[in-house]
Every structure is written in C-alpha cells, then in structure tokens.
C-alpha cells in the first residue's frame, strides 16, 4: 500500500518478479535501461524543441528556416565548440578510462614479454 494520507498518491514502479535473462549480467541490463531512458529523453527534448520552433514561426518571431540559416558569430562558435567537447568527454569517459587501464596493464613491467 503506497498511498500517503494527505499527499499525492504514489504508485509502484518496480514489478514483482523479474527473472534473470540468461547470459546477461545485471550491469548489462542496468546500462541498457539507462541508454533507453536517455534515448527517450532526447526524443522528448527534440520534439519539444520542434514544437517551440513551430510556435515561434507561427507567431512570426522566427522565419521558417531561421534555425537552419543561423550562423553563429565567433564567440558563439567558440562556446558551442566547448559544449561539444565537454559532451564528448562526458559521454565517452568510460571508453577512455577502459583504454587507459588496458594500456597501463600492458605497460607494467610484469606484462612485458621477454
């Protein structure tokens, strides 16, 4: 029973009984679930941006091709460059870390072939 008196009701989110999927580590499924959620969020964000553009166009605040024809000035270009690099580093951090660990392992003295 999850309803709290006087508060908004809260319904359960985790189903009873989730059999393990053969050959899958729990971590694999956790990662997959997070990717699906992120894909869902990106899809929602993109649709919301699309709605905003269309509404601004309909209100004559934008021309229909305003975003596609937008040319950032030098300062804007630099800021956007930093944003892209930041995103890249953040998203692919695990791959960089894994490669660094592999490299460190191979570089340690006991791993060097005679």
């Amino acid at each position: 029973m999850t309803q709290v008196q006087g508060a908004a009701p809260v319904l359960p989110r985790t189903p009873n009984r989730l059999d393990p999927i053969p050959g899958r580590r729990s971590l694999d499924d956790q990662t997959l679930a997070m990717i699906v959620s992120l894909a869902s969020e990106v899809t929602i964000l993109r649709a919301r941006l699309d709605a905003a553009e269309r509404l601004l166009t309909a209100a004559n605040i934008f021309a229909p091709d305003a975003v596609d024809n937008f040319t950032p000035d030098a300062a804007a270009q630099a800021a956007r460059e930093r944003q892209r690099q930041h995103s890249m580093a953040k998203i692919f951090r695990p791959l960089r870390e894994a490669a660094a660990i592999d490299l460190a392992t191979l570089s340690s003295p006991e791993k060097v072939q005679p």
């Binding site: 009701p9 319904l11 189903p15 053969p22 899958r24 997959l32 959620s37």
Partner: protein, 388 residues
C-alpha cells in the same frame, strides 16, 4: 498499428470515447509514442534476425537428440550474444511503458479520482476488502505492471495505468483507446453460434477494467451484465469507465474460480484472454464454475490468444515461451497447449466448439466467421464455447 489522423493526434479529454483515460502532456505523449515505436522496432527490426539465427541453429539440432526441441533451441540461442540483448531490450521497453504511463496517471490523479465519482450509476461496484487474490496473480506482476492486477490502494489509479498502458502495449491493434476488440469478438462468436439469443444475464470473468465487459452491455442493452476480477483499483476504474461509456455493468471483486453467484443464474458466461493468466488447476475450476453458473441452454465462451501448435515453427513457440517467462504470463504454456474441446466436455458442456473467430470491431455488424484456422495474431482469436 493505427495510422495517424490527418489532423494529428487529438488528446483533448472531450475528444476521447470516454473521459477516464489518462491524457498525456506534450512530453508524455512523445514519451509514450517513443515506447510504442521502440516496441515496434524490437519486434520488426530486431526479432527477425533472431528468427533467422534460430532457423540456422534449429537445422543443426538432431530431431532424435531431444524430446524437448524448444528447450534445445533455447539452450543454443542462449549462447548467442544478440539474443540476450534483444530479450533485455524487449523487457526494458515494457518496463518503460509502465513507468511512463504511471507518471502520466499520477500527474492527473486528482482529476481522474474526481471523474470516478459517479452520481446515480446505472451499474454497481462491490469490493470485498478481505478478498485474497490467488497465488498465480501475486507471485509475479502480470505483464510487469508494477503492483500487479490485484493492487488496491483505495483509488482507481492502477486501473487508469492499466487502461492507458494497455492501449500503448497493444500498439493500437486492439481497438485503439477503447481496447475492446476481444470483448466484441467474444460477442460476435455468441451471435455466430446463437444468432437469435436474447440473454437476461451475462457474466464476464476476469473483466479487468471492463474493456471486454462493456461490449456485452452495449450488444445486449436489455441484459444484466456482471464483471468479476481480483483488483480493487481496476474494478473502481472499470465501474467509472463503463458509466461514462453509458454501459450498465455490475462489477464485483471475486475469483472466477468460485464466485458468489447462485447456480444456474446466467445465460452467458465468458472470459477474454484470462485463462493464460491463471494456472492449470484454476482453468479446470473456472470451466467448472462457468458450467455451474449457466442456466439450461446457456452458453460459455472462453477466448484466448492463438494456441501454440498453430505457430508451426520452433522459433514462434520459443518466442511465446520467452514472452510468458519474461513478461510474467503465469499459465501461458498451460492455457495454450491444452485440448479445449476435451476440457469443455469434461466440464459438462455439450455442443462444444474450439476454433478461431475473426476479430470483430462491432459484434453485431461483424462478419460471423468461425473456423479451424487463424487469420493471424490480432486478426482472429482462439475461442472455445459450449452449451449446457
């Protein structure tokens, strides 16, 4: 899948067939469409590759090496990496569905609760607070719906989750937001075998949120229609939904295995895709109960998803078995591999039929097509029926 309206998606409450359905915000609608499309992607883009892998592995299985060819195929498939990924993503899409729909329902909880207050109802609602749901309902949440079918927090919100979730789950192939084609098809079967029937009392066993019950009430407006199921929240929602649709239905919280109704008190007893959510022992009890409740001349109808042997290949059978295990369908193999004609005769029915009824959008207007072969999933439903 239904094609989008040329006017776009209309999600205003007034535009719905009934106002109880939870309405999504802009972002919630996109989220639900994403999940629908993800499920479609898993089914149409990923699953065919698994089917081709299964066909290759199946060819290498020696027929004499195993008396469980589905198990043998499963063992081989489990060694394939993409098989596990496909299965994980399929289950995750289902979990995303309930998560998203629950958010949507919680946001408008107060409005839905207010809409559920019905003045001068045509039907009724009886909820036994001491009801104990059977083990097969509580041992795993059916379809992974968190909280399960028997959930009862005193509100109707779990019913709202089931309704909105069901429509997204069925990808619009079961009557859109009304989700009522199984009930229409059961009534179409009744009119196929008894075209002139005028039942006084009808019972829908395992009625859920009443999607299969309302078609009976609308098809036979002079009949007294009852629905029983195990969930208090579902039944509160079913009651409100039916009233808003103008259908007089009497809902009560009971097990279909043994109801409180007297012997010989109904002319028609039916169920829609319920038996595979029970147990082998419960199926026997439910058929016996439907026999007990019928008056002389009465008709029992039990509608199910297509039986396993109609799939015709090992992959389809394995795929169904995986659905049963990882989507929590407690009696999938039991319900879809029995000899229904024999079970109905053993329960005391005569004039027994077992076959496929063409899906009906409107029971009265539909072609009354019933025969041995299925036209495919969602185009036909397996039906067994018998008379007292």
């Amino acid at each position: 899948m239904t094609s989008p309206s040329p006017k776009g998606i209309v999600e205003a409450r007034a535009a719905q067939a009934h106002p109880m359905i939870a309405l999504p915000s802009h972002d919630e609608l996109v989220e639900q469409l994403f999940i629908r499309d993800l499920k479609q992607f898993v089914m149409a883009e990923l699953e065919p590759a698994q089917q081709r892998i299964a066909e290759k592995l199946e060819a290498a299985i020696q027929p004499q090496a195993s008396n469980d060819p589905v198990g043998a195929l499963r063992g081989q498939m489990e060694q394939v990496g993409s098989f596990g990924t496909w299965l994980s993503l399929k289950r995750e899409s289902q979990r995303q569905l309930w998560y998203a729909v629950t958010d949507c329902v919680e946001r408008q909880a107060a409005e839905l609760q207010a809409l559920g207050q019905i003045d001068n109802p045509k039907g009724s609602l009886t909820i036994d607070p001491d009801f104990q749901a059977p083990d097969y309902i509580t041992m795993g949440d059916i379809h992974l719906m968190p909280g399960g079918n028997a959930y009862d927090d005193g509100t109707l919100l779990q019913g709202a989750v089931m309704d909105r979730g069901g429509a997204v789950y069925m990808l619009g192939r079961n009557g859109g937001m009304l989700n009522d084609l199984r009930g229409q098809t059961a009534m179409a079967h009744l009119l196929t075998i008894a075209p002139d029937i005028k039942p006084d009392r009808i019972l829908d066993m395992g009625c859920g949120i009443g999607t299969s019950t309302v078609p009976a009430a609308l098809c036979f407006p002079d009949a007294e229609v009852h629905g029983v199921d195990v969930g208090g929240s579902m039944l509160r929602y079913a009651h409100a939904r039916a009233e808003h649709l103008g259908a007089a239905v009497h809902f009560s919280r009971q097990s279909a295995e043994r109801t409180s109704f007297p012997d010989a008190s109904f002319d028609v007893v039916y169920s829609c895709a319920m038996l595979h959510e029970t147990s082998p022992a419960a199926m026997v009890n439910i058929l016996a109960e439907s026999r007990r409740l019928l008056r002389p001349g009465g008709v029992a109808i039990h509608l199910e998803v297509p039986l396993l042997h109609t799939f015709g290949d090992l992959w389809q059978e394995l795929s169904a078995e995986l659905e049963a295990q990882f989507n929590n369908e407690p009696n999938w193999r039991g319900a879809l591999s029995v000899d229904y004609a024999q079970m109905m005769r053993a329960a005391g029915f005569g004039d027994v039929r077992a076959g496929y009824q063409a899906t009906a959008f409107n029971a009265r207007l539909a072609a009354k097509k019933f025969g041995d072969t299925s036209d495919g999933v969602f185009r036909s439903w397996f039906v067994t029926s018998g008379r007292v």
